[in-house]
Symmetry: C2
Amino acid sequence: MTSTASSRIPQEERTRLMRARLLDATVECLVERGFSGTSTTLVSERAGVSRGAQLHHFPTKNDLVVAAVEHLTEVRGAELAAAARRLPRGDRRTRAVVRMLGDHFSSPVFTAALELWVAARSDPALMAAVEPLEQRVGRETHRLTVELLGADESVPGVRELVQATLDLVRGLGLANTLTDDTRRRGRILDQWARTLDTALDGALHATLQETT
Amino acid sequence: MTSTASSRIPQEERTRLMRARLLDATVECLVERGFSGTSTTLVSERAGVSRGAQLHHFPTKNDLVVAAVEHLTEVRGAELAAAARRLPRGDRRTRAVVRMLGDHFSSPVFTAALELWVAARSDPALMAAVEPLEQRVGRETHRLTVELLGADESVPGVRELVQATLDLVRGLGLANTLTDDTRRRGRILDQWARTLDTALDGALHATLQETT
């Protein structure tokens, strides 16, 4: 039965599914046991993948953890873009945008990425892999945030306000790893949304006055 | 010579100095090698303290790392309070306050604390020690920030703006652990200082209008 069923799935698809199982298991391990508690043995057991197959696709622990965080970042990036399309227009948009970002940075992908960042600090080989990933993710998240807020970065101060918003949600994400910080985060982000709206209007107004 | 010199230092003072050497060495280890790369053996070697004496004062690695971060937090807290007394009054005060906080959260004590927070996520015994320390430090930093900004937390929104400021510098601190982020941080915090001043004035103004 099993061999008949599996032979109906093309090899390429089976490989893709196996890789996805390995990467999902790696993220679960990072979140539950941290970087130092994650091992390739534990991941292959959890994913139900043979050691040989796992080592073929990801020869080292670093290969595995970087690929896992990259994979989950792509999945979550797609989820974020989908959620962004459902955001309201008008008055409540900024609040919805910053709350969505706050949730994104408090999700398991943030926790897994945090484990990687911290481990990379004292592991040059891991740093070499993590730094370009982090820069790419940072640029994409920045671009999406600018688009969602309808912010005009040619106006002085606007770029820094968008960056501040992302550094704020990163800080809130870190706070959330110690204790569930959902309620406090909601209050802070609601106030941030009001402040951001006023500041973005103010920056635009100041620029218009200067040019007229 | 050595025994004559050391006999002039009272026992209590010698113990205090030895503890300080152990705790400083622990913070250095956490910053350079991370939590998993820090061991009691390495710390006692680096501090030049015998294993026996080290184990007498700090029986476990967790005792050592929590005491170390607590010690450095106190030292840096005192430094922060001293720096606060030198801050300018008037127009440039908010900028100076947020820049000082930004530097504080990008210092080695933040990096050492970050190692502890992340390790505590998957170590319940460490979490039990880290959580109350983190709460106490959080309260003290919040109280100091309110005082430095001359913020009135009875005005709606002001408490959240102070919290946002601290979550922002926490996020900037995390960004700084991967790459030196000093210049970007400076630009973001200068903009935030302007925005914060306007927001604090606006919150006060709105409350005054409501009450009259």
